[in-house]
């Protein structure tokens, strides 16, 4: 019987001794459930803004390609060059007379030696500026203008000087009047099709502005595909938030990287409920040899802005 009691005692002792109070199932905490960890990074698609040629107009409604069609004729072949080709600095044309003088000097030099350039300029003058030459080339009908202009420009050195002055005046007027800033583009987005649960996962554990070295952050980032022969500076503003950024976009290049812009919880919550994107576009460089490619307009937009979110740190959610 003593053995029996000893056995019972052993059972009682062991039943007590093997209990690990750290594993009390009544104290299971599910407050801090997360997907991933501090080193995780999640990227979420957000917005794709497609800008067509028809939307890129000057103040008077002229399409951007039409604006630069005439500029192409006034611009000489001899221009500065980078990896994308020969370019002209549009901002400098508008603001820097010295720069314009250099460009026009090169134009006149080319007209004197390049019959094709002379022919292009003559065609433009005949088409658009015939009346401006009534005093220099009197009695010439509009139909006869181009041939007579070329003949006199080539044979009459004295008259050529006068014609060059007029050409320089017309070219300067056009080139310095180019619109550096296009009227801003505005797009309304009714909502972003992300569920509240997904949004909560992204924002619930974000570090605040006051955190010196934040680990749980949310950024807007992306790329811009640019088919235009102009490099631009774009500044989208995402209202009603204060989120904005400014970025340089190279001409004729896909995947121009946009700077990462930090978002906070309220920014994303606001954005998913609907936003207006206002994009200010400033033209920096124009590459005349690249040309505008209007068609096929439907298949490829001139500018495609691809925005996505970058969540650094774990995705948080409540169980």
């Amino acid at each position: 019987m003593k053995k029996f009691y000893a056995l019972i005692l052993l059972c009682v002792v062991s039943s007590t001794a093997c209990v690990d109070l750290e594993y009390d199932l009544s104290k299971v905490s599910t407050d801090d459930i997360a997907i991933g960890d501090e080193s995780s990074q999640f990227e979420v698609p957000l917005l794709k803004v497609y800008i067509s040629m028809d939307e890129l107009n000057g103040t008077d409604g002229d399409a951007i390609d039409e604006i630069f069609n005439e500029a192409d004729i006034w611009l000489p072949s001899q221009l500065d060059q980078d990896e994308n080709g020969k370019y002209v600095l549009v901002q400098q044309l508008v603001e820097n007379s010295e720069y314009v003088n250099q460009v026009l000097s090169a134009l006149l030099d080319q007209m004197a030696s390049d019959s094709e350039k002379l022919n292009q300029v003559a065609s433009l003058l005949q088409e658009k500026y015939y009346a401006e030459f009534s005093s220099l080339l009197p009695g010439i009908s509009a139909e006869e203008f181009k041939a007579e202009f070329i003949r006199q420009y080539t044979a009459n050195e004295t008259l050529r000087v006068l014609l060059n002055e007029k050409i320089e005046e017309l070219a300067r007027g056009y080139l310095t009047g180019l619109e550096v800033s296009l009227p801003s583009l505005t797009y309304s987005v009714d909502r972003i099709d992300l569920s509240d649960d997904v949004v909560d996962m992204l924002i619930e554990n974000l570090d605040g502005k006051e955190v010196a070295e934040p680990k749980n952050t949310l950024h807007m980032a992306g790329t811009i595909d640019n088919r235009l022969p102009v490099s631009i500076t774009a500044s989208p503003v995402f209202t009603p938030t204060e989120v904005t950024f400014t970025t340089q976009i190279e001409a004729n290049r896909d995947g121009n990287i946009l700077p990462e812009t930090r978002l906070f919880a309220e920014d994303l919550q606001t954005i998913v409920r609907g936003l207006t994107i206002e994009i200010v576009v400033n033209i920096d460089k124009y590459y005349p040899d690249k040309g505008f490619d209007r068609y096929p307009e439907t298949s490829q937009p001139q500018l495609a802005i691809n925005l996505h979110l970058i969540k650094r740190g774990a995705l948080k959610f409540d169980l």
Partner: protein, 457 residues
């Protein structure tokens, strides 16, 4: 998404309780022993105390509690907690993490030896509840690392039923062979199964997507569902039921035999739960989840924007399909034992192999045991089990059957580290067998060492 995890958590916790208990297999005299092999019989007729006459809870799987819960700063957190690194969480997980729960509660039971003290019959009514689930590692890789991929074979199944069984065992070949059979009438109470053959997640910069291919079916009396009238979709919680009668009926048999290879060496073999329940289609709600959702960002152009349904990872949404009569096989098990007795039946050494066919995988178990029975009314058993070539468990069992009471208890939880709620922490299996009854009627003459002089008449 949250509901999915709630379901997972509920299943994990529900499974956190505790299969056939190998420690109890060689526990001579136990009235529960014939549940392992219908050729076995206790040492005397009996009547069980209703509700506590025989209870067996078995948890088996290939992951332990400490693979799921972690102690952190005085708190207990799940492997999904941010304080648990992906490496810590994923280190001990298997490709397929299986858990199975098998509960049997005896509601009514009695048995009696016939006039020859060797033929034995019994009748019992049991409540049976089974649950099994498979959580693939790829699911946790997604949850912990945010790692996209294809998650397959993810699901859970549960069923509960009443069984009323009549057992009869008898000797052959001059008592060297005992054959037992139990016929069981089954009344299905409820069953449910959720399975996902496909759960693909894409988390790319330009596309978040989820593709699911899953099924749900639930059978319980009065089951009905009213899908959303606009979408035709229903969720798990939308299923309503009013159980008043069984939702299915079935039949099963247990077949067993013992054979004395040598005077002190007995081999035993049993195949249990060979049968099925046919579940009524009128009590069944069936649905399929064939969700294909993606979010590639909102497209904005001069012609405006196009909106789409909100993207979510929610996969527990189903479209109702026509229910059909479903016959489900029970989870059969095989028990094969060998026991050698020494010193006039004072000590026995046993070796047991069990295999149980769960919904997702067959679980194997090999147990060695030492069984002391210095007197006919007292048996003490110690066992050591190897589970699926991994993990192990040490079990202790006690059977007391003096003339006025039958009491047996066996568990492998006594010597293992466990929670205050008696859940093993490092052990991936848990077994508790417990019962109380009253001895009645004739005593067994199957074991020569136990035959009393006055019974020989």
């Amino acid at each position: 998404m949250k509901k999915t995890y709630l379901l997972l958590a509920a299943l994990l916790l529900a499974t956190g309780l505790a299969a056939q208990n190998p420690t109890a297999y060689f526990m001579e005299g136990s009235t529960f022993r014939s549940q392992f092999n219908p050729a076995f019989a206790p040492l005397r007729g009996y009547i069980n105390l209703p509700g506590i006459g025989g209870m067996n809870v078995n948890l088996s799987g290939n992951i332990a509690l400490d693979n799921i819960l972690f102690a952190r700063d005085g708190k207990l957190v799940t492997l999904l907690d941010s304080s648990v690194t992906p490496d810590q969480a994923l280190r001990n997980l298997k490709t397929n993490n299986l858990m199975g729960l098998d509960t049997r509660i005896n509601i009514l039971g009695f048995g009696k030896f016939t006039r020859n003290h060797k033929n034995f019959w019994s009748f019992d009514v049991n409540l049976r509840a089974n649950e099994s689930m498979n959580l693939p590692k790829s699911l946790f890789e997604f949850l912990k690392r945010g790692q996209e991929g294809s998650i397959k074979n993810f699901g859970a199944a549960t069923e509960a039923y009443l069984e009323a069984g009549f057992n009869y065992s008898f000797p052959l070949l001059n008592d060297r062979l005992y054959v037992g059979i139990r016929g069981k009438f089954l009344a299905g109470i409820a069953r449910a199964q959720v399975n996902y053959d496909q759960f693909d997640i894409t988390l790319q910069q330009d596309r978040w997507g989820v593709v699911t291919q899953g099924t749900i079916d639930m059978t319980v009396d009065g089951a009905s569902v009213e899908p959303d009238p606009e979408t035709g979709i229903f969720e798990f919680g939308d299923i309503d039921y009013k159980p008043r009668k069984p939702a299915g009926y079935g039949f099963a048999v247990d077949l067993g035999a013992t054979y004395d290879v040598l005077p002190n060496l007995q081999a035993s073999l049993a195949v249990n739960d060979l049968g099925f329940i046919s579940w009524n289609k009128n009590s069944t709600v069936t649905g399929v989840s064939t969700q294909t959702a993606e979010f590639t960002g909102v497209e904005v152009s001069g012609s405006g924007t196009e909106t789409a349904p909100d993207f979510d990872f929610e996969m527990m949404k189903f479209t109702q399909t026509e229910s059909q009569n479903t016959s489900k096989m029970l989870r059969a098990s095989v028990n094969a034992g060998l026991e050698y007795e020494l010193w006039n039946h004072w000590v026995g050494f046993g070796l047991l192999y069990t295999a149980r066919f769960w919904e997702y995988k067959t679980m194997h178990n090999i147990t060695g045991s030492v069984n002391f029975h210095p007197t006919r009314w007292f048996t003490l058993t110690g066992s050591y089990s190897v589970l699926n070539n991994r993990g192990s468990a040490i079990g202790l069992g006690l059977n007391l059957c003096p003339g006025w009471i039958n009491f047996f208890v066996a568990t492998d939880l006594l010597l293992t580290k466990r929670t205050p709620q008696w859940i093993p922490i490092k052990q991936s299996s848990a077994n508790v067998t417990l019962g109380l009854g009253i001895p009645l009627g004739k005593r067994s003459h199957r074991i020569a060492a136990y035959i009393r002089e006055n019974d020989r008449k």
